[in-house]
Symmetry: C2
């Protein structure tokens, strides 16, 4: 099981994709990993939109200033939260981390591009993907084959961020 | 790398601990996994308090209604966020998921007990661990040896939560 830790430590954001498609079974495995996240009182306030349609990927690319890699992504996943549930943001963030890790595990690159809490991003995503008003897209996660597979993650370990027993 | 996905799917919340201590190197590995999470603009707005002091664990146990397993935990980690940073909540939630997965990978059980956004929990945690006012404890994560190591996670896969291209 040690490779789980290795996988966590070797995951990093990937923003340059080859444009190749993603295997559909892999996309389902990635979303399944998202649903394995914990949630407050096990409410599971999440839904997932798997986008492989090139037209929609391109429209989102045009609408979102920090998701310009969508035009070369093989797919994207939108993690959506039920805004009626108090803890939807943290629950959907945990699901997102599982999705990023699972994409990495399966040999893909991915990157979390924030949508919530930016109204100027939420509205075009809602419109493009016909998301109901009480559901909020937390992010758009472009997924693809990394152009450069040899990139190593930066080591973000910082001992000054660790406190023992008290701050 | 497939075991990364297996690890994600087999992780589950553990709430009954033997009371045995946790190896200190393992606690550092677990926190290191937390720091490997992505964060908005790589700001890394997190800090981690590793608690092994039995007196503090017991005081938190008394103060927190949903963290009563702390008296049998070998340790706890508090994931704290810098409230001056806009995206601290989602960033710290992603770090928390990495912590839960790494604890699982190393053979421990753990559970996310929410602190934020409950003022009645934030204040006693802040007081007990001397957390500065601009820092907010997102959660307390008790970690320990599971009493029952044979528990299998419930399968939370739910096809109705998946949408293709549009909602």
């Amino acid at each position: 099981m040690q490779t789980l830790v290795e996988g966590i430590l070797s995951r990093h954001s990937v923003r340059k994709f080859t444009g190749d498609p993603i295997n559909e079974n892999d996309l389902n495995t990635i979303v399944k990993a998202g649903m394995a996240a914990p949630s407050a009182m096990n409410i599971q306030p999440w839904s997932f939109i798997i986008i492989t349609d090139k037209g929609i990927l391109n429209n989102l690319c045009k609408a979102l200033p920090y998701a310009k890699m969508l035009d070369k992504a093989g797919a994207a996943i939108i993690v959506c939260g039920d805004s009626k549930e108090a803890n939807w943001v943290v629950d959907c963030a945990a699901a997102t981390e599982n999705i990023l890790l699972a994409a990495h595990a399966l040999g893909y690159g991915a990157v979390w591009t924030a949508v919530y809490k930016y109204e100027s991003r939420i509205e075009p995503v809602r419109k493009e993907c016909k998301i109901p008003n009480d559901i909020i897209p937390l992010n758009v996660i472009p997924i693809g084959i990394a152009v450069d597979k040899n990139v190593k993650p930066i080591d973000k370990y910082n001992e000054s961020k660790i406190h023992k027993n008290i701050w």
